[in-house]
C-alpha cells in the first residue's frame, strides 16, 4: 500500500501528462487532432463544472437554512422575557412570553446519549457478526435484514414504543431504581406507573439508529484489506486478536462517522419521542421518572397550535439543535482527521 500515490501527486501527474501530450499531438497530426482535444477539454470542463455546481448548490441550501433559522429566531428572541439559554419554561402567548431551551437541550442530550451508549457497541457487534462471525452463506441475508430494518419509519417506532414496548419496560424501571437507585440518574421520585420516560425514549432511539450504524460500519469492515487480516491470522492471532489489531483500527473512522449519522438521527428524531415521552418542560436528569422533553419533540408538539412568536421560538430552539449537531460533527471531524492514514483511498 505504500506504493500507491497520494491524490495530490496523482492529480499533478495527470495534469502534467495532459499538458505535455497535447502539443505533441498537435504537431503530429495537425488539424485532425484538434476536435479531439477540444472534446476532451470540453467534456472535462463541463463535468467539473457540473460537479462543482452541485457542491455549491449544497452550500447554498445550507446557507439558506441557516439564514432563515437565524432571522426567524432573532425575531422571536427579541420578544423573550426569559433567558433563552438557561430557562426551562415555554410560554409563548400572553402578555409576558418567556421561553428557554435549558430543559429541552438537557432532555435531547440525555436521550441521544442513552441511545448512543446502547447502539454503538451493539451495532459494532452486529457488523462484526455479519462480516467476521456469521457463516458466509447467511451473512449476506443478515446484512440485508439489517438494511431493511433501517427503513422502519419513525411513526411505526412511535406506535410500537407506545403500545408494546413501554409497558414491558416498566419492570426494568422498577428493578433499576430498586437496585441502582443510589446512582443519581437511576433515582426515582415518583411511584409512577408509567415507563414513558427519557430512558425508554433512549432505548427506542437506540433501536432506531442501530441498523443505520450497523449498516455503515458493516460496509467499512468489508473494506478492510484482506491482506491485513490474513497477515494477522498467519502470525497466529486468534479471531478476536485479528479484529482488534486489523479490523477495528481500519474501521475506526468509519465507526465514528457511522455513529455521527446515528447521533444526528437520535438528536433530531421527532415523531417517535413526541408519541412516547410523557413530557414536561423542566429539566430532569432522573431518567426513570416521566418528564423532560427534547427539542425536536417539543417542536412537533407545539408547532401546530403556536402563534407567530411561538413558531419563532420553536425555530430558535431548532437553531440550538442545529448548533448542537454542528458541535458534535466538528468533534467527530477532528477525531477522523487524526486517523486519516487509514482512509481507504490509499489502501
Amino acid at each position: 500500500m505504500s506504493t500507491s500515490i497520494t491524490p495530490e501527486s496523482r492529480d499533478n501527474a495527470q495534469r502534467d501528462s495532459g499538458s505535455r501530450r497535447s502539443p505533441k499531438a498537435d504537431q503530429a497530426h495537425g488539424a485532425d487532432a484538434k476536435p479531439n482535444k477540444t472534446q476532451v477539454r470540453l467534456g472535462d470542463r463541463v463535468f467539473l463544472g457540473l460537479s462543482r455546481g452541485a457542491g455549491i448548490t449544497l452550500l447554498v441550501i445550507m446557507a439558506g437554512i441557516a439564514v432563515f433559522l437565524v432571522v426567524k429566531a432573532l425575531d422571536a428572541l427579541g420578544d423573550n422575557n426569559g433567558n433563552f439559554l438557561t430557562d426551562s419554561t415555554w410560554v409563548t402567548d400572553g402578555s409576558k412570553p418567556a421561553f428557554g431551551v435549558a430543559g429541552l437541550v438537557g432532555g435531547t442530550v440525555i436521550s441521544a446519549g442513552i441511545a448512543m451508549l446502547i447502539a454503538v457497541p451493539v451495532a459494532v457487534g452486529v457488523a462484526l457478526f455479519i462480516t467476521h462471525y456469521a457463516p458466509r452463506r447467511v451473512a449476506q441475508t443478515l446484512g440485508y435484514i439489517v438494511d431493511l430494518l433501517a427503513a422502519v419509519p419513525s411513526v411505526v417506532f412511535g406506535l410500537w414504543g407506545l403500545v408494546f414496548l413501554s409497558p414491558k419496560l416498566l419492570g426494568l424501571h422498577t428493578w433499576l431504581s430498586d437496585y441502582l437507585g443510589w446512582i443519581p440518574i437511576f433515582d426515582k421520585d415518583e411511584t409512577g406507573t408509567t415507563a414513558r420516560t427519557l430512558f425508554t425514549c433512549g432505548i427506542i432511539l437506540a433501536i432506531m439508529v442501530l441498523p443505520i450504524i450497523a449498516a455503515v460500519t458493516r460496509e467499512v469492515f468489508l473494506q478492510v484489506p484482506r491482506a491485513h487480516e490474513e497477515a494477522a491470522l498467519a502470525l497466529g492471532a486468534t479471531r478476536w486478536e485479528m479484529i482488534r489489531t486489523a479490523v477495528l483500527p481500519f474501521g475506526k473512522p468509519g465507526i465514528i462517522s457511522a455513529s455521527m449519522l446515528g447521533l444526528g438521527r437520535a438528536l433530531g428524531e421527532t415523531i417517535a419521542v413526541a408519541m412516547v415521552l410523557s413530557s414536561s418542560q423542566e429539566f430532569t436528569y432522573k431518567i426513570l421518572d416521566p418528564g423532560g422533553n427534547t427539542i425536536a419533540a417539543n417542536i412537533a408538539n407545539q408547532f401546530a397550535e403556536s402563534n407567530d412568536l411561538g413558531r419563532g421560538a420553536l425555530i430558535a430552539s431548532g437553531l440550538v439543535l442545529f448548533v448542537l449537531t454542528l458541535l458534535v460533527n466538528g468533534a467527530a471531524r477532528v477525531v477522523i482527521n487524526r486517523h486519516k492514514e487509514f482512509s481507504g483511498a490509499n489502501a
Binding site: 500507491s4 500515490i5 496523482r10 495527470q14 472535462d44 463535468f47 460537479s51 455546481g53 452541485a54 457542491g55 448548490t57 449544497l58 452550500l59 437554512i65 433559522l69 457497541p121 451493539v122 457478526f129 462471525y133 443478515l142 435484514i145 439489517v146 431493511l148 433501517a150 427503513a151 422502519v152 419509519p153 411513526v155 411505526v156 406506535l159 408494546f164 419492570g171 426494568l172 428493578w175 433501536i207 443505520i212 449498516a215 455503515v216 460496509e219 473494506q223 486468534t238 479471531r239 486478536e241 479484529i243 468509519g254 462517522s257 455521527m260 444526528g264 433530531g268 408519541m275 425536536a296 417542536i299 431548532g318 439543535l321 442545529f322 449537531t325 482512509s343 483511498a345 490509499n346 489502501a347
Partner: protein, 356 residues
C-alpha cells in the same frame, strides 16, 4: 503485532514438544454451560418475574462461565477470543430481538386490515363511524414525493461526491465536506420549516407534494453524498491510473471506470437514504397538506403520504383508525422491502465482482 507469551505451566527446562495443537476445551462444555444458563434464566424469571431480565442473566452467565472455563482449560488469549465471540453473538441477538418484534407486531396488527380494497381506495368521504377507506391516495403521494426527491437528490448528491473525491482540493472541497456533515444533522422538521418559509411563504406556492419532495431531497442529499463519497474513495487508485494512462479523459474515467466499480455501494447508500426519507412524517405535515382523496398531480393541490396517513389515523378519534394506521405501516414496510429487493438484485446483477 506481538504474540502474547503463553503462561502454561510447562517446566522451562525441557523444550516443549511442538505445540502445534494446544489444549482446547472439549466441545461439550459450552453446551453444558448453555443448559445451565437456561436454568439461570428460568430461575431469574421465577424470582423476578421478568423474561427480559431472565434472558439478560442467562446470557451474562453463559458469557462469564464459558470465558472463565476457557481461561482455566485453555489460555488467556483464547478466553478473550471466546469472550469476544460470545459478546458479538449476543450483540446480534440483542439487536435483532426488538427489530423482529417491531416487524412481527406490525404484521400482527396490520395484516387483517390489509386487503385489495384497502390498497385501492382513498379516504374520500369516509366518516368516523365507517369501517372503510384505504391508502391508495397515500401510496400515490409517497411514490411521487419520494421519486421526485430522488430525482433531485441523487444526481446532485452523486455529482457532489464525485467533485469531492475526484476533483475537490482546497477550501471549497473542505467546506462542502464539512457542510455535508452538518446537513446530516439537520432535523427533518427543520428542513420542513425551511421549505415552508422558502417555497410557501416567500415564493407564494401552495402546499403540494412537490414542496414535500423538496424537504425530502434536502434530507436525502447528505446521505447520498456521504455514502457515494465513501464508496468512490474505496475504488483503488490503480484503476483510475490505468484508465488515465490509456489516455481516457478524466470525465470518462469517472463515468466508465470509477462509478461502475462503486455502483453496488452507491445503490446501497441511495436505498438507505430513501429508507430514511420514505418514513418521514414531520416535514410532510407542514408541506403537503394532507388530502383524503386521490391527487396524482404532485405540483398542485394537496397530497397525502403513507407515514402521514399513519400519523393522521393514529390521532383520529375513530375506533377503526388504529387498524388503518397499522395496516398502512405494514404497507409502508412492504413497499420499502420491495424497493430494497429490487435495488439488491440490480446491484448484484450489475456490480463487478469484488474481492469477496
Amino acid at each position: 503485532m506481538s504474540i502474547v507469551k503463553t503462561d502454561t505451566a510447562a517446566p522451562p527446562a525441557e523444550p516443549k514438544p511442538l505445540q502445534l495443537t494446544r489444549r482446547s476445551m472439549p466441545t461439550w462444555i459450552p453446551w453444558a454451560v448453555a443448559v445451565a444458563a437456561v436454568g439461570v434464566g428460568l430461575l431469574t424469571k421465577a424470582v423476578q418475574g421478568n423474561w427480559a431480565l431472565g434472558g439478560f442473566f442467562a446470557g451474562l452467565f453463559y458469557v462469564v462461565v464459558v470465558s472463565l472455563a476457557s481461561w482455566q482449560i485453555e489460555d488467556r488469549r483464547r478466553a478473550s477470543d471466546r469472550l469476544a465471540t460470545s459478546i458479538v453473538y449476543s450483540a446480534f441477538v440483542v439487536a435483532v430481538v426488538p427489530l423482529v418484534s417491531i416487524l412481527w407486531y406490525t404484521v400482527q396488527q396490520g395484516w387483517e386490515k390489509l386487503s385489495p380494497e384497502f390498497l385501492s381506495h382513498s379516504m374520500n368521504g369516509v366518516g368516523p363511524r365507517d369501517d372503510k377507506g384505504g391508502i391508495y391516495h397515500a401510496i400515490i403521494g409517497t411514490l411521487e414525493q419520494v421519486g421526485l426527491a430522488g430525482l433531485i437528490a441523487v444526481p446532485l448528491g452523486l455529482l457532489t461526491a464525485i467533485y469531492l473525491v475526484e476533483y475537490g482540493r482546497g477550501r471549497l472541497a473542505r467546506t462542502i465536506t464539512f457542510f455535508v456533515d452538518v446537513m446530516t444533522g439537520v432535523p427533518s422538521i427543520v428542513a420542513g420549516l425551511f421549505v415552508y418559509a422558502f417555497w410557501i411563504l416567500a415564493l407564494g406556492f401552495e402546499a403540494s407534494g412537490f414542496a414535500g419532495s423538496l424537504a425530502l431531497a434536502i434530507l436525502m442529499l447528505p446521505t447520498v453524498v456521504r455514502s457515494a463519497e465513501e464508496m468512490l474513495k474505496l475504488v483503488p487508485n490503480e484503476l483510475r491510473e490505468a484508465s488515465l494512462a490509456l489516455g481516457v479523459p478524466k470525465w470518462r474515467t469517472v463515468l466508465k471506470v470509477v462509478l461502475p466499480t462503486a455502483i453496488g455501494g452507491i445503490i446501497t447508500g441511495v436505498m438507505l437514504s430513501i429508507a430514511r426519507v420514505i418514513g418521514e412524517t414531520a416535514p410532510l405535515l407542514l408541506l403537503v397538506g394532507l388530502s383524503q382523496s386521490i391527487n396524482t398531480d404532485p405540483f398542485s393541490g394537496w397530497q397525502s403520504s403513507i407515514p402521514l396517513f399513519v400519523f393522521d389515523q393514529n390521532h383520529s378519534g375513530s375506533r377503526f383508525a388504529p387498524d388503518r394506521a397499522w395496516a398502512a405501516a405494514l404497507t409502508l414496510i412492504i413497499i420499502v422491502m420491495l424497493l430494497n429487493l429490487v435495488a439488491r438484485l440490480i446491484a448484484r446483477w450489475k456490480a463487478p465482482k469484488a474481492g469477496r
